[in-house]
Amino acid sequence: MRLRLASWLLPIALLAPAVAPAQSASEVAVKAAFLAKFGAYVTWPDASGPIVICAVGSDVFGNALDRAVAGQQIDGRALVVRRLDSVDRGSGCSIAYLAGSARQTVPAALTALRSAPVLTVTDSRESNARGMIHFRIAQSRVRFYIDDRVAAESGLGISSKLLALALGVRARGR
């Protein structure tokens, strides 16, 4: 099993140096809207309080994320945006978009949040390291991969409706 995980991670690691050019404004807006919508398809062990969306590392969104969550609620829970340089288990994030920074690289952030009930979102434009959801541009559209296994290990449930939209899904273990 561990061997399979390694063979799956290997190409990602090889691709890491190929960093794409800067994102367009509409792409950023779409990603911000996606972040605001994921909450409806994810269940956390603790379903109380607002859903906190953390933008970790370099600022990718500008005020696009704030616009996306403005006035939105998911099943009665408010959406809150926080910007952090680095993240750890105690940061209070429900969803963490990991853009990476000098202080904490994306893999480091992932490691810091390992097994924590935080939906980790990574972006192929920022890093090859993959969180539970990994953005990627396919046919000029924002798409994503889902690692349901890691999500399950962290105690999160991802709706099959969302899984159906993913480019690829790493299924949870039995």
Partner: protein
């Protein structure tokens, strides 16, 4: 009113048929409404399912995924349109089939035509983010109706059955009415026929009476001719030749006696003859008659008697029975033309219920039977059938009165018996007289020796009551001839006066039918004065107060008119010495 009641079942039938049809229509309509509702529900549910399955795709704007999700609905042939609209009502993705136009915006009203449409909200995280819209073709009305054809057919059939039943009932009633009409006519015809038959019977009766009167007149004329002629001769020769006068008087008496016998036979036929039945041993009677029969029938007829041992006795009038046997024997002789064999047989006979049922007026039981048979030419069936009819005779005019067998019949029936003729043409004739068995005590009939006439004793005074002068004089003469003292009265009042005045009257001799008072009433009144006074009744006609059902009461003394001096003498002595 009656007509309205008769029409009621028809009306009810029509109403029932109407109700049945209405019910069928209701069932079909309700079933159709159910179908439409279910169809709508189905479409709604499918829209709901669609909406739920494409939530994420719509949420994340994945048109491709939405299109793929809509694709499977093409498989359903009823689907006319499938579409997804965004929250602001614009078409996101969808398609229409078979000429259905897909609206660009989410429609607020259902499409016109035979469709069922439903929209279901797409909800994500408590937010409505769009709508799934589904339109399905309903089954065409004709197809739906064929589905209800069974119900419709049943309803129509039931209605038809009700109608047919109603119609057939009406037809039946009409037929009944006609039948009733015919029946009424028939009854009327029957009544008419009965009336005609009654008239015919009346005519026949009058004819019979005419025949009877003619016959009696003829016979009586002959006898009167003898009587008158003889008396005439007697009167002329009275002084000159007393012997010839006496002979003539004897002839006159003979003629008068024959006339008396004729009236007796008439009365027997009419069943008006008072019978004085007594226990009879038929064997003894037949034995006693053999000498008489031999003389009467002549030497040409061989008489054979076969008498049964232990023969039952019977209860009948001996004189009448003798007369009947004599009649039958004479008939037999005449049938055999004076030459042949006559058999008189007696036997016990039991007539069973079966026989009684087949013969009118016969009671089942034990009978003492006398059979008189001859070996003459016999009778054909039609003659047998008419043999007992009065005045029916096969003998030539003047030889038979046609009353012989009628007398036999009348007497036997009056005695509670039965008479039957068996005859074969060329073989002979047998007549059977059945008389009911008598169980009572034996009464030895003492026939007084014919010696001198019993005469009146000195001092025996008899009161004669009779309204007809001539008859009264005759009676008075006869009584005086017999040595009785006589006083006479012409009516009830006179008679009662005499009874009051003279307490030495020994006997009241009275006619029964009188204008002022009948004999019975007179006797009752006289007995009130003199309870021990014996009464002797006489009458020519017997159906009256003294005689019941043609049989004389046992405590009543009676002598029928006409009577001879000898009969009167014996009767008087019997009464006075009783």
């Amino acid at each position: 009113m009656k007509d309205r009641w008769q029409r009621l079942p028809q009306t009810a039938g029509a109403i029932f048929a109407g109700v049945l049809l209405l019910f069928g229509l209701l069932v079909v309509t309700q079933a159709d409404r159910d179908y439409r509702y279910q169809q709508q529900q189905r479409v709604q549910v499918r829209a709901g399912i669609l909406a739920a399955s494409i939530t994420a795709a719509v949420d994340f704007g994945d048109t491709q995924a939405v299109r793929e999700a809509l694709e499977p609905f093409r498989v359903d042939p009823a689907t006319r349109a499938v579409a997804v609209y965004t929250a602001d009502g614009r078409l996101m993705s969808g398609y229409a089939l078979d000429g259905f136009a897909l609206p660009r915006l989410l429609p607020k009203v259902p499409p016109k035509g035979n469709y069922s449409a439903a929209a279901a909200d797409i909800v994500s995280g408590g937010r409505t983010i769009g709508a799934a819209y589904l339109v399905a073709q309903m089954e065409p009305l004709s197809r739906r109706l064929t589905r209800y054809a069974l119900i419709a057919t049943l309803a129509v059939m039931a209605a038809l059955i009700v109608l047919i039943l109603g119609l057939s009932q009406a037809a039946l009633r009409r037929a009944n009415r006609e039948l009733q009409h015919t029946n009424d006519e028939l009854v009327q015809q029957m009544a008419q026929r009965e009336k005609a038959e009654n008239e015919l019977r009346q005519v026949q009766k009058m004819e019979s009476i005419g025949q009877l009167t003619g016959g009696i007149a003829h016979d009586f004329n002959n006898m009167l001719a003898i009587v008158i002629g003889s008396l005439d001769i007697a009167e002329r020769r009275f002084s000159t030749s007393p012997d010839r006068a006496r002979t003539a008087i004897a002839h006159a008496l003979e003629g008068a006696n024959r006339a008396a016998a004729l009236t007796k036979r008439l009365l027997a036929f009419a069943r008006r003859s008072p019978l004085q039945p007594q226990p009879i041993d038929p064997n003894q009677m037949v034995a006693n008659m053999s000498e008489l029969l031999r003389r009467t029938l002549g030497e040409g007829v061989v008489i054979e008697t076969v008498l049964a041992g232990g023969l039952w006795r019977t209860h009948a009038d001996p004189g009448q029975l003798e007369n009947a046997i004599l009649n039958l024997c004479v008939n037999a002789r005449d049938a055999m033309d004076g030459k042949g064999r006559l058999t008189i047989e007696t036997l016990n006979c039991h007539l069973d219920d079966d026989y009684a049922e087949r013969h009118a007026g016969v009671a089942a039981g034990q009978y003492s039977t006398i059979v008189i048979s001859d070996n003459g030419p016999g009778m054909p069936q039609d003659v047998i059938e008419r043999a007992f009819e009065p005045f029916f005779t096969t003998k030539s005019v003047g030889k038979g009165t046609g009353l012989g067998l009628a007398q036999v019949y009348g007497f036997v029936r009056q005695s509670g018996g039965h008479v039957k003729i068996y005859s074969e043409v060329g073989e002979g004739t047998a007549v059977k007289i059945y008389l009911p068995r008598y169980f009572g005590p034996a009464e030895v009939a003492v026939t007084p020796e014919v010696a001198d006439l019993p005469r009146g004793r000195p001092g025996e005074l008899i009161l004669v009551v009779e309204d007809e002068d001539q008859v009264r004089r005759m009676s008075v003469d006869a009584l005086q001839e017999l040595g009785y003292a006589v006083i006479e009265a012409s009516g009830g009042a006179d008679a009662l006066a005499h009874v009051r005045e003279r307490d030495d009257i020994r006997l009241l001799f009275t006619d029964v039918v009188m204008p002022d008072i009948n004999g019975r009433q007179l006797a009752d009144k006289a007995r009130a004065l003199r309870p021990d006074l014996p009464v002797l009744y006489t009458t020519g006609y017997t159906r009256n107060a003294v005689v019941h059902n043609g049989v004389v009461d046992s405590d009543v003394f009676f002598i029928p008119k006409p009577f001879t001096i000898e009969q009167l003498a014996r009767k008087l002595r019997a009464v006075l010495d009783a």
